[in-house]
């Protein structure tokens, strides 16, 4: 069929296109276009009414000009006029113009919608399809408002033609995507599910996309689709290659429909009905078997279509994650593809294996391919394939192969493509930290990273190695020795100088015994790099020097001389100058004791999520690091960056979290005036909001409790926040009852799926708070889907049966972009929430105080102030605690006394509190006396962390 006979015969258009093609320069093209635009404008404005044909031709020219990339600001009206033409081609061009140049001009939208409405009710299937295509292409809210109720009717009406049904299904899908609130479920929904049984394969193909989308949001309403989908799939999979006629594609029966069916099934858990499940497993086995059969055609289309189904089936198998046999078979199949001659298949096999690596059933099977994957990393010619190989190595890494994988990644880094170096560096750093058994290996790895790819080692990575060295005294000597050796290299990266400066400044003494690394040698080595470094590094080195003066008094004279020279003390950079001046002065006037106190070794850093992991997440977006996340749950911990359970010191650190610098903040205090002032700096913001100085808590896989402590004295606020999710709390308590409103806000633009929350009470609490935090029967459990930018609410009813000390745990799970997110938070339900304030006179107070004089009834703590000691702030906190704050009771007006009764279902516990601040020493003494010993202890524990 010759092409020309198909054209619309718009000669003017063809001439115009030829002209444009003949233009020799961009300028000539613009000139020709402007001429044409002027011509069209005059035609549209002219007195003579244009006939339909001319209008169509000019509108088409405008469209062509627009598609060339030029702006079009007129002609919309003429296009809308074409919509109501009774000539098909004119109507068609009108619709095309509208679809391509959507304009939210409200005047026009009304006219367009009118024309669409006429065509939809015309009962002419060709016109109906045109109108539906237009709605699907534009998909605006205005169109959804106008047609969201009409289209379902067309879709399920008995007399609708198949082709119209197909268009209606996908049109509805588009509207549902843009305006889900306007597409109301109804009687039509059950009939839509049955379209899966339709005789016309095209109708099934179109309808299943709609059904998949609807079932994601309303899984229960659509769950009958599972068995229908399984039987449809089974019929396709077992059909001979010619049965489906034109729906067979290169000897593969209905590949698109098969993929869509397998995808629909991924919205649901494995079928519960044994027969359905059996049939499905049979289908999956058949698909895996077919992959082993010889190809029916040599054409790539045949193998692509066949493998498209195979990969989708593997996705489903991974989604179920419950059939070890299928998982291992899938893995073996992918293993074959790893060595396939088609680059595309190797790429996809690497990608798909990444998800298999996270299943406990197939993790070991994936690991057997390690050599092939390493080889791919070394030999693949396409960087995107190498990237996949690196991802897979990262995913399959565990304690058993970490050393090998890290070594391979390091050696790959030497020649790696620039575009992936930074990510590779982060991944190596994470694996080295996560699977470090001995820390000397970890230190070696990171220093190697800096050596090989120093430019790509971000702050997070070198901050982290310092944090870890400071926290682990068994590695400090080794770190000092290694970094000292690394610094010997004639050209070493500035990041190495930073790490070296910091570590020698802290732990240089550990290697000072060896004359080859005596204090003066160390200093000279560091100082030999000084003039090559940037200002921040020089500032760091100056701090290292003053630390040297403290560690090695014999270096004092040499270092003072350096500090005193003009290039330091008169440096044009204020920061450097200030450091030089202050350090010089400090070293001259301070006594040895003072110097030793000021320049004391850094305290351990609080354990928390590795800042480099956070960085990788940020860099790669959600999903990218999901694999190690999942591993955490399955394998035993012991990582140095574990959950934060590192003995007593970590508990103490987390209490003072608010005042330690955040991971992204300046670890070394370089940007603050001087390192000595690294003490709490939150004072400035106290007046603004006394309770929320801690800011957004770090995202955490382990239980997060900084949020928790901020709620002891308040009931409302933000409990948790990371890049994805914000959780707000409002709560109210009366007597022994409470109600808590949780607000889950999706901060992203992507929906959270399978959103579930559970509340559990650890250990003892189970038996104490009965009907613990049971979800209110009046509200449904949380919506399974949280749309991008949306917020959902959940109500918890709480009843306190008897006193308790452990808080309930809230566990939140959801999928974001395919990755499972799992979060546990301590819910801020503390015993003091059930206080009833009790007013009493001074006399009464002290009488009761004396009555509660048994030693175990009293709990006392003396502690350093962590927050402002301002009277108003303290009063606000004590009131927030729930007790009555009693004036004129304590003879010392500086002291605070409070009284209250804790209401539990079983009993009432009277409590008296006395808080004695000592402003000069910045200390408090807190005393509690309660009629129940355990309550005194618990309250004392909670409150000691509040002031």
């Amino acid at each position: 069929m010759p092409a020309v006979s198909k054209g619309d015969g718009m000669r003017g258009l063809a001439v115009f296109i030829s002209d444009i093609r003949n233009c020799k320069s961009k300028e000539a093209e613009i000139k020709r276009i402007n001429k044409e635009l002027a011509n069209i404008r005059s035609k549209f404005k002219g007195d003579k009414a244009l006939d339909g044909y001319s209008k169509k031709k000019y509108v088409c020219k405008l469209l062509f000009i627009f598609l060339l990339g030029h702006d079009i600001d007129f002609g919309h009206m003429e296009a809308v006029n074409l919509l109501s033409s009774n000539k098909y081609t004119e109507k068609q061009i009108g619709y095309l113009f509208i679809s391509v140049l959507v304009n939210s001009n409200s005047e026009l939208i009304r006219l367009i919608n009118n024309a669409i409405k006429n065509d939809l009710s015309s009962r002419n299937p060709t016109f109906m399809c045109l109108a539906l295509h237009c709605i699907a292409n534009v998909g605006s809210r205005e169109m959804a408002e106008a047609f969201a109720s009409e289209i379902p009717r067309i879709l399920v009406a008995g007399d609708t033609m198949d082709s119209v049904k197909q268009s209606a299904a996908l049109c509805l899908l588009r509207l549902y995507k843009t305006s889900p609130d306007l597409v109301l479920m109804g009687e039509w929904t059950s009939r839509v599910v049955h379209l899966l049984n339709d005789q016309h394969m095209g109708v099934v193909t179109a309808a299943i996309s709609l059904i998949t989308c609807l079932s994601q949001k309303n899984p229960d309403e659509f769950k009958t689709c599972v068995s229908l989908a399984v039987s449809r799939l089974s019929r396709i999979v077992s059909s001979a290659s010619t049965d489906l006629q034109d729906y067979t594609y290169y000897f593969v029966p209905a590949p698109w429909l098969s993929c869509k069916l397998l995808r629909l099934l991924q919205c649901y858990p494995p079928p519960e009905d044994g027969a359905v499940k059996g049939r499905l497993v049979e289908c999956l086995e058949t698909i895996l078997n077919k992959a082993q059969e010889p190809p029916k055609s040599k054409k790539v289309q045949h193998s692509n279509a066949k493998n498209a189904i195979l990969f989708e089936a593997i996705s489903l198998i991974i989604h179920y994650d419950s059939e070890p046999n299928l998982l291992v078979r899938a893995c073996n199949q992918l293993g074959q593809f790893l060595q396939h001659r088609e680059t595309n298949l190797r790429y996809l096999a690497l990608e798909s294996m990444c998800t298999l690596a996270s299943s406990e059933f197939s993790h070991e099977a994936v690991k057997t391919h390690i050599e092939t994957v390493i080889n791919a990393l070394k030999t693949e010619r396409d960087v995107s394939v190498r990237q996949r190989a690196a991802d897979l190595l990262y995913a399959m890494c565990d304690r058993s192969n970490a050393k090998q994988i890290v070594a391979e990644m390091l050696s790959y880094l030497e020649t790696a493509d620039y575009s992936i170096r930074e990510e590779m560096v982060l991944k190596v750093a994470i694996l080295a930290e996560k699977y470090a058994v001995d820390y000397s290996w970890y230190v070696d790895t990171i220093l190697n990273l800096i050596r090989i790819a120093g430019d790509y080692v971000s702050e997070e990575v070198w901050y982290r190695v310092i944090q870890i060295v400071i926290n682990r005294d068994d590695v400090q000597g080794y770190a000092a020795k290694t970094v000292f050796e690394a610094l010997q290299a004639p050209a070493c990266h500035e990041n190495m100088v930073k790490v070296g400066g910091y570590i020698l400044g802290e732990f240089g003494n550990l290697i000072a015994g060896d004359p080859r690394s005596s204090p003066l040698v160390q200093f000279n080595l560091l100082h030999s790099k000084f003039h090559l470094c940037s200002v921040p590094t020089r500032a760091l080195l100056l701090s290292a020097y003053i630390k040297f003066i403290n560690l090695f008094p014999e270096t004092k004279a040499t270092i003072q001389e350096v500090l005193r020279c003009d290039s330091q003390i008169r440096n044009s950079d204020v920061e450097l100058q200030q450091r030089a001046v202050e350090y010089l002065k400090l070293s001259s006037i301070a006594s040895t004791d003072v110097l030793a106190t000021v320049l004391e070794e850094m305290p351990p850093f609080p354990e928390r999520e590795s800042s480099i992991l956070a960085k990788l997440k940020k860099k790669k977006g959600p999903g990218a690091v999901s694999v190690p996340d999942l591993e955490d749950g399955k394998r035993e911990g012991g990582e140095l960056n574990g959950g934060g359970e590192r003995g007593p010191d970590s508990a103490a650190m987390s209490a003072s979290n608010a005042s330690t610098p955040s991971p992204s903040a300046d670890l070394l205090g370089m940007r603050s005036a001087a390192p000595m002032s690294a003490a709490p700096t939150s004072a400035g913001s106290l007046l603004v909001d006394v309770f929320s100085e801690a800011g957004p808590a770090a995202p955490s896989a382990a239980v997060n409790d900084d949020g928790f402590l901020r709620f002891v004295c308040k009931n409302n606020g933000v409990l948790f926040e990371n890049q994805l999710l914000q959780i707000g709390i409002k709560s109210e308590y009366r007597q022994n009852l409470g109600r808590m409103y949780l607000f889950y806000g999706n901060k992203t633009s992507v929906q959270f799926a399978s959103f579930t929350t559970t509340v559990s009470c650890p250990g003892e609490l189970q038996s104490h708070i009965l009907s613990i935090l049971r979800l209110n029967v009046q509200t449904k459990p949380v919506e399974p889907v949280v749309e991008g930018g949306a917020q959902i609410q959940q109500v918890l009813n709480i009843e306190c049966l008897t006193d308790f000390s452990e808080a309930p745990l809230l566990n939140i799970k959801f999928r974001y972009g395919g990755a499972l997110q799992n979060l546990s938070l301590k819910l801020p339900v503390t015993i003091n929430k059930f206080f009833q304030p009790t007013e009493m006179t001074s006399h009464d107070f002290f009488q009761r105080w004396k009555q509660l004089s048994q030693p175990q009834q009293e709990a006392q703590k003396i502690f350093k102030a962590n927050h402002s000691m301002d009277t108003e702030v303290l009063k606000a906190k004590l009131l927030g605690l729930g007790t009555a704050l009693l004036d004129d009771v304590d003879p010392n007006p500086e002291n605070y006394v409070c009284a209250g009764v804790i209401q539990t279902k079983g009993q009432q516990v009277g409590c008296l509190l006395r808080l004695e601040p000592n402003g000069q020493a910045q200390m408090y003494r807190l005393t509690l006396r309660c009629s129940k010993d355990s309550v005194s202890l618990r309250l004392c524990e909670l409150l000691a962390q509040q002031f």
């Binding site: 619309d8 015969g9 296109i17 598609l67 081609t89 605006s140 996705s315 395919g818």
Partner: protein, 165 residues
């Protein structure tokens, strides 16, 4: 453990080896400016790739599936968890449809009959999802429309097409 949200194709672009855009179909709402930027960046990225490279690449937060047919590149953007191979075959089926309709389609056919290329695409893919995968059925729909047109305009078209390349 895997996908949860429905993945529609985000857009489809056809461009020449010289980087000229021949067809663009957007299935997600984007401003004109964003569309231009995306097309420009993506065309550059793909043209820079070597012939034997893999047909898939990660690009921003999308997955790009592309294939070259003679002087034209066909390129689809899908979401992260979409099936790459079936998308590759979507492209191939569209090429087959164009080929069958125009008879050994070449770039010029698509330049001079761009509106037809759009109409065929709409019959095949709607809103980014496969609407009708049977070649026969798609072409039947387009031919029916052509018949309607020829009835209306038969006298004019024959004369006007003479002398065109």
């Amino acid at each position: 453990m895997y996908m949860q949200s429905i993945h529609l194709m985000q857009f489809m672009l056809l461009f020449s080896r010289q980087g000229k855009l021949r067809l663009q179909k957007w299935y997600v709402p984007l401003s004109d400016k964003e569309r231009k930027k995306i097309s420009r960046d993506l065309v550059q990225t793909i043209l820079a790739r070597k012939p034997k490279m893999c047909s898939f690449l990660e690009w921003r937060d999308l997955k790009i599936v592309y294939k070259r047919y003679a002087s034209l590149y066909f390129c689809c953007a899908v979401e992260d968890q979409d099936n790459e191979l079936i998308t590759l075959e979507i492209i191939h089926r569209y090429v087959e449809l164009l080929d069958k309709y125009f008879g050994s389609v070449c770039e010029l056919d698509i330049i001079f009959n761009f509106e037809k290329a759009y109409f065929i695409l709409d019959e095949f893919l709607l809103g980014g999802e496969a609407q009708e995968t049977s070649k026969k059925n798609v072409l039947k729909a387009i031919e029916q429309a052509d018949l309607l047109q020829e009835e209306a305009e038969a006298p004019r078209s024959v004369l006007e097409e003479i002398g065109l390349t």
